[in-house]
Symmetry: C2
Subunit: 212 residues, 2 copies
DNA sequence: TAGATTGTTAATCGATTAACAATC
DNA sequence: TAGATTGTTAATCGATTAACAATC
């Protein structure tokens, strides 16, 4: 096979994490009706280097044209497709407290390639509510619901104390990813569950270090 | 001077971002009354390598002891001190919507070396409320308040459309950092303002890529 | 003392940057 | 065509890993 068929080299994590930034900026350019952009311009706007931009994009294919640059709308679409944003997967939210409700109310899951299907909570006062069109079901219904609708991803916005072994359980239920807002890192090697940790505290501590 | 006085080499960003993870885990160990830990154990718990752990820590000093390892409580304190968690700086929150209120209500700013002083909003219904002991003032009071109390950091939880040139203004007001939850990247080179971007969308898109 | 584990230097690996021929 | 800019290879830089003498 000799590593020549299909895509070039497997994109590193660093590359993947830059893709949303390209996407977001290209989206802006489309809105402003900009037609073309060079790797230099793109780099300048995002604080990267032109080399880096070209290297990044060439992990996935040659989207540019010599002497011209990149077609903005086309590149935006290509990156959307690489990330999977052109195809929506189901998601549920577990823990409809303040943060959970803030996400349900304000965050655009569709933009990120997901459809928010339902929320689950243990709090009687919250169960039965509808937030931005999403119903909050009792936690006991999670299993049945998951088996019926097969959501791909669970958003964990419950208190750290309530996490327990829910992650293993989600894996058993067939989830393929977890967006983890609980204040504990989840790193499993034994399952195929993809975990994306969002650590507010880590982020703020890094800022604390820098403002000393 | 020859780069031999004081700390060894300047810690890279990658190192800084691992410090909160060490800190968090050491905090747990202290709670469990574990006395000592080796670089191997620490590495295993966090998914790093022992070499990496020792390299990281030795950016700041030799906190261990041959044949023994590291004293848990001592190392925890050292890292807290490096991050600045042993000294609190003032912070204000700008935009007391859902996300802002979720942070005010649930997030422990003290743990991260800050004291939340006040919140600001333009919404009449929110102004005057008190959330977890923090008063919400009208946006117009931000300037006076900042000049009087000199908070170090502003937490930006306002809608992207409302951001405008607030960041430049904060810089003028003497802020030294911004914790940015608005969905636009802020990268300035001209000011000394430290910016920490929290990008939910980028994070979820990265997960979307991995669950394909 | 013998065993364990650090601090630190050297080797490796991977990611970023530079350079340039290809070509629109 | 001449100028611009890509795709890609090579060079550099930085971060991670390995190795081991120092030493508790």
């Amino acid at each position: 096979m000799d590593e020549k068929n299909g895509e070039k080299r497997k994109p590193s994590n660093a590359v993947i994490r830059r893709l949303p930034k390209y996407y977001r900026y290209l989206q802006e350019l489309v809105a402003r009706e900009t037609m073309r952009i060079s790797s230099h311009e793109l780099a300048a706007a995002l604080g990267f280097t032109a080399s880096q931009v070209r290297q990044d994009l060439n992990c996935f294919g040659g989207f540019g044209q010599q002497g011209y640059g990149y077609n903005v709308a086309n590149l935006r679409d290509e990156i959307a497709s690489i990330l999977g944003l052109d195809d929506r997967q189901g998601a549920v939210l577990i823990g409809a407290g303040n943060l959970g409700r803030a996400l349900l109310g304000n965050f655009d899951f569709q933009d990120c390639g997901f459809v928010m299907l339902a929320a689950f909570d243990i709090n009687e006062k919250i169960i039965g509510q509808e937030i931005n069109g999403i119903s909050v079901f009792p936690m006991e219904m999670l299993d049945d619901y998951s088996k019926r609708y097969h959501p791909a991803v669970a958003v964990l916005t419950l208190p750290p104390s309530a996490v327990g072994d829910i992650v293993d359980h989600l894996s058993e239920l067939g989830y393929s990813g977890v967006w983890n807002f609980t204040n504990r890192d989840i790193h499993l090697s034994n399952t195929t569950l993809e975990v994306e940790n969002v650590h507010f505290a880590d982020s703020l501590m890094a800022l604390r270090y820098r403002v000393k």
